[in-house]
Amino acid sequence: MAAPKRNKVPFFSSLQTKYALSYLAIFAVVLLLLNTYPVLASQDLLFASKRDSLKSQTAVMSSALMELETLTADQVTRVMSMLDSMGLDRILVTDPSGLVLYDSTQAESGDGTDGEESAPPEEEPQDQYALYQEVVYALEGNDVFFSRYADSCFISTAASPIVYRGMVIGSIYILELDEAQGELLLSLQQNLRYISLVIAGVTLVMSAFFSKMLTARIAALLRAIRIVGEGEYGHRLQPVGRDEMAQLAEEFNHLTDRLQTTEEVRRRFVSDASHELKTPLASIRLLADSILQTDKMDPETVRDFVSDIGREADRLTRITEHLLALTRLDSLPAGRTEPVDLARVTERVLSMLAPVADAAGVTLESSCKSGCVVRATEDELYQVAYNLVENAIKYNFAGGRVFLSVYREKDQVLLEVEDTGIGIPEEDLPKVFNRFYRVDKARSREAGGTGLGLSIVRDTVRRHGGWVTARPRAAGGSIFTVGFPQYQPAEEEGKEAI
């Protein structure tokens, strides 16, 4: 048989890649959150803190300046020199038109407080107008705050109107460049980035390792299925651990066990059946050829040969009937069962086989207790008892005895067939129920046996939840015991009620 075509699984469709990518995707999301949320939250906190701080500073300066009725450069410079710059990088005060009246950076450079002679300032126009959005909004009467984080520095600006008796007489604008907090946030960002890189590296290795580990077992299972599919039924997996994959491996092994057993039985059955069918056919062919090829054969011999052909044909018929019976037992579900009195069925069998026993010189005896009821079909129980008693007669000696008993033991009904016949060797006992198995083939054929009677008994008994055993009799012969669950009317009614 040609091996099935196996397509190579594409890289991105393989389970290993999918598992690995799933792990990576999950960790990528986690790392993304790790790198964004803390930084954004810190930024927001710092923005809020700066807003409060700068707004309060502009409010203080604004309230100091609103004492002046009109703003002039000199007055503003005087007031501002009395105020602390509070770490701000620039403070601007403008009049209502945006003209800069005070610029803290120019005031500081003009002080020359360190005693050093400062470089002459570049030529700057006398008037300067602060055309910043913050100033414009402030001169329109609004408080403004703006902050952003750029180049590891918090750049924050705020502006407020200076109001005197309801009139906007100017604006104050402040700028803070906070590099310390910016550096702090940058170091937080960098630390998170390094941690993320380490986690990403570990995740990459782990995802490759775990996905490989998981898919290696799936690959082993796939390989095993292919090997078994190619006909090597003895191949087994070694379950590792106690997870679902281990269970899958165990189930696979059980399945393969059954497959192997079924295959062996099938092969043996086909081989045995072929052999059993071939033997009578060969005999028929031989006898027919002899009649055809022998000139002037006397009528007595022809009659004997034709009689033998008829006997072989009967044997073929029996074999095929038994094979059909076994096939039915294998494939068809049990027919409608009913409570059957086993004692009554065995009495019928005994009366049916009494002439056969008489002809063989075998005495039939029985002991059947009443109330031995089992749930089965009457025909099948009849077949079981018939096969056992017929065998006991066939493989007995003239003057021998067959003893049949039906009785109850605990919750079981037992049928026992004891004979004083040729018996079964100890080593053959486990095989007597196998199909086409015969202890003494010559005798079996001579007695008209097919080698299937006990197989039919075993399969029929099992079909009704029973069992059958064979054991040697101490004084010679064999004992076959069949057990069925005793029919319990109360239990059955309970089940029906449910």
């Binding site: 209502p96 008037d127 300067q128 107008y129 910043y132 329109e140 952003r148 750049i155 460049l177």
Partner: protein
């Protein structure tokens, strides 16, 4: 499989497009018309510009007419009151480099910071022309009384806080 490839290709194209868009910066044209930003901008310069779309060598009148016509871009707004028109635009005969601009009376309605913004929209626009060193702006033939200095120069307008520019770009000056 083919669908997956297409998805990857589309994703890559989108990333490249975003990268290309993100790196874009406005190139300065030869002449710019200064206006006010129209949106809710809280920080930065109070003036913005759009390119002058007229001829190659515009006269002061051309620039002023374009300025008074208002911005063509939606993100910009005009600083001038409705109905302002150009009366004249002449060079000062006594002081070369000084351009005297006379606008209609409606311009006189502007005061305080609104006036300053309008003034410097004109000054910054005209100062791009060769030879313009200062601009005098009159409304209906009169100087605006509450303006301290009538002769306005582009250098007087502080559009950006130099410390912020220095911090962000590392440059000493910003023009």
């Amino acid at each position: 499989m083919r669908r997956t490839h297409r998805l990857w290709a589309a994703l890559l194209a989108a990333v490249l497009l975003l990268a290309a868009c993100g790196g874009g910066e406005r190139t300065r044209p030869d002449y710019m018309l200064y206006f006010l930003p129209a949106g809710e901008k809280l920080q930065g310069s109070a003036l913005d510009w759009e390119p002058y779309s007229g001829g190659e060598d515009p006269s002061p009148e051309d620039l002023l007419e374009a300025l008074l016509a208002g911005p063509t871009q939606e993100e910009l707004a005009s600083p001038f009151p409705r109905g302002v028109s150009l009366r004249s635009c002449d060079w000062d005969e006594e002081e070369p480099g000084v351009l005297q601009v006379t606008l209609s009376e409606q311009y006189g309605a502007l005061t305080d910071i609104s006036l300053t913004l309008a003034d410097y929209c004109i000054v910054l626009t005209l100062s791009q022309l060769d030879g313009v060193e200062a601009v005098e702006i009159r409304s209906g033939g009169h100087n605006t009384g509450y303006r301290g200095n009538q002769r306005l120069q582009a250098e007087e307008a502080l559009l950006w806080d130099s410390l912020i520019v220095q911090q962000v770009s590392g440059e000493e000056t910003f023009s």
